[in-house]
């Protein structure tokens, strides 16, 4: 592995393995949500920023990745092709990250082996190649920002971090460090310039998304950080090891934000060199996810880039080795939280789980390993430099361990895929998309006897005000247990008995994450047309089961797609252009 030539060959082999796996595995729910979002833009003419609570760059890249589906509509249900296209940008982003690490490597003869070390990091391989999450993109911008800061190009570094923030927020954690480094090396003007460039790049990529819907945006972030009750601490956050941690998730988030500020302030003491900057960046990255109460295992990838970059600059095999342990722990925690069968159903339909990708230890024990690893990383990063010979030995040892883990992991995945091939059925994407295109809103009650029902869907009702999409949408009221009543909808008294109805036995999740059992639905599409974001109606007598009746909107994506597939490519492209121009 030490020879640049051997490392280069290994990089080639790893990339081939990555490309071979790309189409076949993906996290069913996460990837379906993103694909359904692109379908809504292409086939329902929904403005892209509707229901989007992440960065603008991620949105653009994701839409571009799925553009072939708009050109050839028949591809929509070819999930291996769509998954491959979906993951391709992040695969390329990882390549760019590896190139940045290679360029900044302290020991030139080991540059290729450090690039390889990044590409075979268990969490990088898991998130980008296996799971299909877009964190490699902000990672690439974060690494570019750190690298440019090391090179003294503070303004460009700020732009890179701004783009990273405009992809998935967290690269903003490096801005205090960049500002301090720019201040110590270039003075106040350059520090302020860096801040200005960062603000401009962030605004350019985020404002088009956030403008006019900041409240929805913050409530989404709140939900992902603290859960629906505002008191959730993820079992993959280190805070979960603290008794009663769920009582103070906001305080914990402040600590997660405070650590990068302290690390930046610590760099005020001197003119930081490359190693100092990379070390502070690595610790910033680690604290920003592991102390985040809403952390989940794939976010461990945030540390992978800065960690390997530091290890490459410092030529530190021990940090590299600890990084592999931390990344592997994250992957193991993930398989304790979720069954691995989640990863095959898009390409193969319902499939057995991967034989070797399962929970091997209690999550709390894995959390302790992560904690020890982080403590050890801090200690290792601050120890004196090693001799050249010792550095070679430790780097090679870490590289070999990483390679062994990669071989085990990729072989397990290959075995799982091979086992799923003979039983290949229909992809679960179509049914997932139907669920995703179902928006259920729980009733909020006011008025005398609590009989006035209010429904507010924010922009989740993406066809409200969208003439094309509204044609393929329907609205219904869903009851857990129904009793005859008189509804007044938009001022018109309507006995429910007069409405078309259907009996069901379904579980529906409302947009505020409540789970409702629905046994009967009444179609009120005609009553609610044209659709609105907010509805109020009254009922006599009142339903007493909390949250019910649900107001359920369903969008028939199949019908919309069929209608659109009959139009010419030029018309589809024109519609798409109009859609993305819609504010």
């Amino acid at each position: 592995m030490d020879s640049p030539r051997t490392s280069a060959w290994l990089i080639g082999a790893v990339l081939l393995i990555d490309l071979a796996i790309l189409p076949w595995t993906a996290h069913t729910f996460d990837v379906s949500v993103f694909l359904a979002h692109t379908d809504a833009v292409f086939f329902a003419h929904v403005p892209p920023r509707t229901s989007w609570a992440l960065g603008g760059i991620m949105l653009v890249v994701m839409l571009l990745s799925q553009f072939p589906v708009l050109v050839n509509v028949q591809v929509w249900n070819n999930l291996p092709v769509r998954t491959f296209l979906f993951k391709l940008p992040v695969f390329c982003a990882d390549l760019a990250s590896a190139a940045i690490i290679r360029a900044l490597s302290g020991e030139r003869s080991a540059a290729n082996s450090w690039a390889l070390r990044y590409l075979i990091d268990p969490i990088v391989f898991y998130v980008t190649i296996f799971h299909g999450q877009y964190d490699a993109l902000p990672n690439m911008f974060a690494l570019a920002g750190i690298g440019l800061a090391i090179a003294g190009r503070y303004e460009l570094a700020a732009v890179a971090l701004g783009f990273g923030t405009g992809t998935k927020f967290y690269p903003a954690a490096f801005v205090p460090l960049l500002t301090v480094v720019a201040f110590r090396h270039g003075g106040v003007k350059r520090a302020l310039a860096a801040l200005g460039f960062f603000a401009a790049a962030t605004a350019a990529t985020m404002l088009p998304i956030v403008w006019g819907k900041a409240d929805i945006f913050t409530s989404e972030l709140d939900f992902y950080s603290y859960g629906s009750g505002g008191n959730h601490v993820s079992s993959s956050s280190l805070w979960s090891l603290v008794p009663n941690a769920a009582l103070f998730p906001r305080l914990e988030q402040i600590v997660a934000v405070g650590v990068p500020l302290l690390l930046a302030a610590w760099e005020l003491r001197h003119r930081s060199n490359a190693r100092d900057i990379a070390r502070a960046a690595m610790l910033t990255a680690i604290s920003s996810f592991i102390l985040n109460p809403g952390n989940h295992p794939p976010l461990f990838i945030w540390a992978a880039g800065p960690l390997v970059l530091y290890a490459a600059i410092a030529d530190d095999g021990l940090v590299s080795l600890l990084g592999i342990v931390l990344s592997s722990t994250a992957v193991l925690i993930q398989f304790c939280q979720e069954d691995s069968r989640e990863y095959l159903s898009l390409a193969f339909g319902p499939s057995p789980p991967f034989a070797f990708l399962r929970c091997y230890a209690p999550p709390v024990a894995l959390q302790f390993v992560a904690l020890v690893c982080v403590v050890a990383l801090v200690a290792a990063a601050f120890r004196p430099s090693e001799s050249r010979r010792w550095a070679n030995v430790s780097r090679n040892a870490a590289g070999l361990v990483a390679l062994a883990v990669f071989v085990l992991f990729s072989a397990s995945i290959a075995a799982g895929i091979a086992a799923a091939v003979p039983t290949r059925g229909h992809s679960t994407f179509a049914s997932m998309e139907k669920n995703i295109d179902t928006v259920a809103i729980a009733a909020s009650r006011t008025g005398t006897g609590q009989c006035v029902l209010s429904y507010k869907a924010y922009d989740a009702v993406f066809f409200a005000g969208n003439e094309f999409a509204a044609r393929y949408a329907n609205a219904s009221l869903g009851y857990t247990l129904y009793s005859p009543e008189l509804l007044t909808i938009r001022g018109e008294p309507t006995p429910t008995k007069a409405l078309p109805s259907a009996s069901h036995n379904v579980e529906i999740v409302s947009i505020n994450q409540g789970l409702f059992h629905i046994t009967r639905e009444f179609d009120i599409t005609a009553k609610l047309f044209p659709f609105q974001i907010e509805e109020r109606m009254t009922e006599r007598p009142c339903t007493l089961i909390p949250g019910t009746p649900l107001l359920i909107y369903r969008f028939d994506m199949d019908a919309a797609r069929s209608a659109l597939s009959r139009s010419s490519l030029a018309d589809r492209l024109k519609s798409f252009a109009r859609t993305i121009e819609t504010p």
Binding site: L318, L322, A361, P362, V364, A365, F368, V369, L371, V372, V375, A376, A379, A380, R383, P384, S385, E386, S387, W390, S394, T480, L481, Y482, S483, P484, E485, S503, H504, N505, V506, E507, H517, T519, R520, P541, C542, T543, L544, I545
Partner: protein, 247 residues
């Protein structure tokens, strides 16, 4: 050379310290994991022995018994959501529903809470009351049988499609229940043996493992587009001599 030795020594010290920390952490993790496991076992053991109902819950049940309305139910609803299930409390609530003509929305709300709190206890209590009432011929007992029959169907409607546990609804009078009976319901592994059932047309029900030995039907019972072992059976089936057959 001295620097090399210093550097090597420092690395060795760091590695030794790390191994020490790792071993310590593994020990702590093991102890914590064991404690967690012990806690889980204790919780399970506690769950196996039903906890007595809280005094406040008993007071709220008594209030609902003396005045069964929305107000008294709202209070009891809170107790049921937060407290453990109890056959004693459940049977008293079922008793109220069996003996009073309450507004349908209130009955629905109580049924939904009974199901959430302890579905098996609720169905057990409903069955006991229904079977006891069915043995008598008085008008009052007939009304109890009718109300508990409706309640049984409401509880069955709450049964989600993935549930397969065995439910004993034998020897009951289940003729009352309205239009929603058998509509999309999951009656998988429900035993109706010896019960009286209303005829009619069920639709979209999961009839896997449903037992109809010796049922008394008021008229022909059919099942259209129903499910058997996760498969949709296209067309209509007819219940004949306790078995579903194609007409």
């Amino acid at each position: 050379m001295l620097r090399l030795i210093e550097s090597k020594s420092a690395t060795i010290v760091v590695v030794v310290v790390l191994i020490g920390i790792a071993l310590g952490a593994a020990l702590i993790a093991d102890v914590v994991a064991r404690n967690v496991a012990d806690d889980e076992i204790q919780k399970m053991a506690k769950a196996a022995v039903p906890a007595p109902p809280a005094p406040q819950t008993l007071a709220d049940v008594a209030a609902f018994e003396s005045s069964p309305d929305e107000k008294s139910w709202a209070v009891l609803h809170g107790d049921l959501l937060t407290g453990p299930g109890s056959l004693y409390v459940t049977s008293r609530i079922v008793n109220v529903l069996a003996k009073h003509d309450l507004p349908t929305p209130l009955v629905n709300a109580v049924a939904a809470d009974l199901w959430t709190n302890d579905s098996l206890d609720a169905l057990r209590s409903v069955r006991q009351m229904n079977v006891a009432a069915s043995r008598y011929r008085t008008a009052r007992e007939a009304r109890v049988a009718e109300r508990t029959s409706r309640l049984a169907w409401l509880l069955l409607a709450m049964r989600t499609s993935d549930v397969i546990n065995v439910i004993d609804l034998t020897q009951m009078d289940l003729r009352a229940g309205g239009d929603s009976v058998g509509q999309g319901m999951n009656v998988n592994n429900v035993d109706f043996s010896g019960s009286k059932l209303q005829g009619g047309s069920w639709k979209g029900a999961n009839i896997t493992g449903t037992i109809f030995n010796g049922v008394h039907l008021t008229s022909r019972l059919t099942c259209t587009d129903c499910f058997w072992k996760d498969f949709l059976v296209n067309g209509t089936l007819v219940l004949s001599n306790g078995r579903w057959t194609a007409p």
